[in-house]
């Protein structure tokens, strides 16, 4: 160890203050401090310090991401190979085949994300003359994890550059950004290259070819709204709910809740496994690196919104059953025959009820909403970003609940944006300072009230 240290000290020499490459010191420091925690001692303030530092905190988040990442590699490989090889399910693919195939697909994304992002971070650190902050270690890993696996590398690079430059450095760098950088990258790509970021074909490698279907559950729920009613032959809302999952579409016919929870479904690189995300969440909560208030709040908010939708979906389902049972119309007609529906001359609330009954996203059980799509990943790893989240304890509750609430709302109301959680978190990022403002204003008002009381007492005396 001593030898390594001495070699490093020699290497560092040209970067010391007063030497030739002094300006580039942050760059070499970034590597040096990775190997060795520096020998800096306290200069002022408390003479002793806690062992925790930003590097340790960020590495903990990376640790929490590892289960989801490894699972994502396997899943991406398996989702592709089982369809390409014409196997019955993902489990028929040999484990290492799937994992290696997935790793080959995913690793380039990670490399590109880190290289592009860290290059910009280093340049800004040297330009501004501060040390390189470790925040990008997490951001750089998060970004590939929330992209579809087939995203062209240059698009990823551009998204990363946009997120770091506009999303972070433009606001003053780490700790100053308003929006979560990883989500900024995704949002940029989502709106700049919608063909590569949304739709039904992209969620599995080579998903646009005929042999492979690249659909997600949410995508099919949104586009095949009515299948559940028909194939389930449902007579009430409960049946809708249970049938909607199993009979969504032909390629997804084998899906059930445990598949969705474990993550054996198509989706962004690492967002699918609620189990792995839950492990990550436990790591974040146990180490106090992620706010449990935001995570619990987010899940509660999402569940609440889901329940509200389920209630109205249920009303619609009952109405549809009534129509069908009274013989006015058949399910087949509701699905395919717009003329027959129009002939019923339903007005106002009745028409709405029919629409609600047809809408599978409304009837998708609330607890299943929490495990499909990017919801869990977003709440656990994105919403908890301490810089862009609310900073007060009370604010974190409000922020978390609203993020979950809006996430499900956007997903259901606008099927074009099934990844509502991304937009919901970005929206709440923008409102987080406002939430904090009102929470803190409560404290300020208390103080002002106390002052007023003291003044009146003084006058009375």
């Amino acid at each position: 160890m001593k030898w390594v240290r001495n070699r490093l000290d020699q290497l560092r020499k040209p970067f010391e203050p007063g030497e030739k490459y002094e300006k580039f010191a942050p760059a070499i420091n970034a590597f040096d401090t990775f190997l060795f925690t520096p020998n800096h001692t306290t200069k002022k303030g408390a003479h002793i310090r806690d062992v925790v530092d930003l590097k340790r905190t960020m590495i903990t988040v990376v640790l929490a991401l590892v289960p989801a990442l490894l699972f994502g590699m396997w899943n991406n490989g398996a989702q592709y190979l089982y369809q390409e090889r014409g196997l019955a399910s993902v489990f028929d693919v040999p484990f290492w085949d799937a994992f290696l195939e997935g790793a080959i697909l995913v690793l380039p994304l990670i490399v590109v994300s880190y290289v592009v992002g860290l290059t910009i971070e280093f340049i800004f650190a040297i330009y501004r003359g501060h040390e390189v902050n470790e925040g990008y270690l997490v951001t750089g890993l998060l970004i590939p994890m929330i992209f579809p696996v087939d995203i062209p590398l240059w698009m990823l690079a551009l998204s990363v550059a946009f997120a770091v430059l506009i999303g972070k450095e433009a606001f003053g760098g780490t700790g100053m950004n308003i929006l979560n950088p990883a989500l900024t990258a995704r949002a940029f790509a989502f709106f700049a290259y919608p063909l590569y970021m949304s739709g039904n074909a992209i969620w599995v490698h080579n998903g646009s070819t005929d042999a492979v279907s690249g659909e997600t559950i949410l995508g099919s729920l949104a586009s095949n709204r009515f299948d559940g009613v028909v194939s389930g032959g449902a007579s009430d809302a409960v049946a809708f709910a249970s049938s909607s999952v199993t009979e969504v579409s032909s390629t997804l016919s084998s899906l059930n809740f445990s598949d969705m929870f474990m993550g054996f479904i198509p989706g962004s690189v690492s967002e699918t496994s609620a189990l792995c995300i839950a492990i990550g969440a436990l790591i974040l909560i146990a180490t106090k690196v992620g706010s449990w208030r935001i995570i619990i709040g987010g899940l509660a908010g999402g569940a609440a919104m889901g329940l509200i939708f389920n209630y109205f979906g249920g009303l619609g389902g009952e109405y549809v059953s009534e129509l069908v049972n009274s013989g006015q119309i058949t399910l087949e007609q509701i699905k395919n025959d717009a003329g027959a529906v129009a002939a019923l001359e339903l007005g106002g609330w009745d028409a709405t009820l029919l629409e609600l009954g047809k809408n599978q996203l409304f009837n998708f059980p609330f607890w299943q909403h929490l495990v499909v799509g990017g919801f869990a990943f977003g709440i656990v790893f994105m919403a908890t970003d301490p810089v862009s989240a609310a900073q007060t304890l009370k604010g974190k509750w409000i922020y978390g609940i609203l993020a979950g609430f809006f996430g499900i709302m956007i997903r259901v109301f606008n099927p074009a944006y099934p990844e509502g959680i991304m937009l919901a978190i970005l929206l709440l990022n923008v409102f987080a300072p406002t939430i904090d403002h009102y929470v803190i204003q409560g404290n300020v008002n208390k103080r002002k009230k106390r002052l007023k009381k003291a003044k009146t007492q003084l006058q009375a005396a």
Binding site: F34, L35, F36, H40, I48, V51, T60, V289, R447
Partner: protein
């Protein structure tokens, strides 16, 4: 009406090297020093020159902008040196001490029967006034003010710090006299915060509060906040309990007896030497510990969280009753950032397993990381038992936003209350310094 103060938030750092609870006489220091820098915001105006003879209690300088506030010699002797720094700022007034002290005789006085103005004058002329610290701002009180109330903390929670309760319980008579004197200086009350089952709980002419909980519960500012928080325009005076006893002694004997019982603590002190030493304010470090290598050992006047770094031949801080020696941590740690490693360092972070270790820890001065941007939220609140948003207040101080600082409670805090924030925060932010600068800004802008 006394009030129990139960503090929940905070952190007790369990460190090795506590001083043994036995008091011995320290050898008399040959040189004593009064350091004007110990009195924040005081501009000293010298009265005596180098070579002048002084008695204990004789004025050596006064505050330029508050002339009645005098600073006196703690011992009798000859002023051997006036040490100046940049811009001729006075750093130290050194006094070569006589073998036996000769005192200025102020005369005995019973503060309870004397005129309040006379009590005040006596405290001012005898040089006891600098013991009185004003909150807000944490500076020496102004001679013109009358405070809303006076607070004395006799409860120690700071790591390795000298236990005030233990020190003062041997000076009960003087402490009571001091409380009596202080009670004449305010229309409000004198509040004393004591630990559970403290002998000081029986004190008269004061309201006694039982304080419990982890550090910083012993900080007087925390107690003020819980009993009678400071509003804009109000002033509260705070004193150290041992300083109250010195004031009491002044009234009992008529002499300024600056006796200080100092705890010698820290892992770099030999086991046998870790005791309480009876010495005098301004005593030199060499009278307590000798031959310290300051590249390997840090000498701290005060506790490890709030103290001043000293050279091996400097005097203790005017207010401090602790001398701590801990190892300098100027060493590299291979992959020191790995989570769940280096658990020997006490931590509230979940990335450390120090809570499993139990027992006491040996700590050094390593920063354990580098300064970074503020990223982690919610951790500062865990160690500040006040109804205040610490991070927001720190940010307001950094940007110098006076209105915001005022709204967020700058008048209620002192740098020492943020010492644990220094300790625990992930970004290695110098919270105490930021708060001090914020308070200084308030002094110049609001006054």
């Amino acid at each position: 009406m006394s009030k129990d103060i139960r503090v929940k938030k905070g952190l007790n750092l369990k460190l090795k090297g506590e001083a043994d609870k036995s008091i011995v006489d320290a050898p008399r220091s040959s040189i004593y020093a009064i350091k004007p820098l110990d009195f924040h915001a005081v501009v000293p105006k010298m009265v005596l020159k180098e070579g002048a003879r002084v008695k204990a209690g004789e004025v050596i300088f006064y505050s330029k902008y508050d002339e009645p506030v005098k600073f006196v010699a703690p011992v009798s002797g000859t002023i051997s040196e006036i040490l100046r720094g940049a811009k001729r700022r006075i750093l130290e007034v050194r006094i070569m001490a006589d073998a036996v002290d000769e005192f200025v005789e102020f005369g005995k006085m019973d503060p309870m029967t004397a005129d309040p103005a006379a009590v005040k004058t006596r405290i001012l002329e005898s040089g006891c006034w600098p013991f009185i610290i004003q909150r807000p701002y944490d500076i020496v009180a102004s001679a013109e003010d009358a405070p809303k109330s006076i607070f004395i903390s006799a409860y120690t929670t700071a790591p390795l710090a000298g236990d005030v309760d233990f020190i003062v319980s041997g000076k009960m008579e003087a402490f009571q006299a001091g409380v009596n004197a202080l009670s004449r200086l305010t229309d409000g009350k004198v509040h004393v915060g004591v630990g559970k089952k403290s002998a000081l709980g029986s004190i008269n002419n004061a309201e006694v509060h039982t304080v419990s909980g982890p550090h910083p519960a012993g900080n007087v500012g925390i107690q003020v906040h819980h009993v009678d928080p400071i509003n804009f325009g109000e002033k509260v005076w705070v004193l150290g309990a041992e300083d109250v006893a010195i004031i009491g002694n002044l009234f009992l004997t008529g002499q300024f007896k600056a006796e200080r019982i100092v705890a010698l603590a820290g892992t770099e002190v030999a086991d046998a030497d870790r005791k309480y030493y009876r010495t005098i304010i301004g005593a030199n470090v060499t009278s307590l510990v000798k031959n310290v290598n300051t590249t390997e050992t840090r000498i701290i006047s005060g506790d490890v969280l709030t103290g001043d770094k000293l050279a091996s031949d400097q005097a203790l801080n005017f207010y401090h009753n602790t001398l701590t020696l801990i190892p300098e941590g100027n060493e590299y740690a291979l992959l020191g950032w790995l989570p769940f490693t280096r658990n020997n360092i006490p931590s509230i972070s979940g990335t450390s397993l120090s809570w499993m270790k139990g027992g006491k820890s040996k700590v050094d001065t390593n920063l354990n990381g580098e300064e970074r941007a503020l990223v982690v939220t919610g951790e500062m609140e865990e160690v500040l038992p006040m109804d205040i948003y610490p991070m927001q207040l720190i940010k307001a101080c950094m940007t110098g936003d006076i209105e915001k600082m005022e709204n967020l409670g700058i008048y209620e805090v002192a740098p020492e209350d943020f010492a644990l924030v220094d300790y625990i925060n992930t970004s290695k932010l110098e919270a105490q310094e930021i708060i001090r600068l914020g308070l200084d800004l308030m002094i110049t802008e609001v006054g």
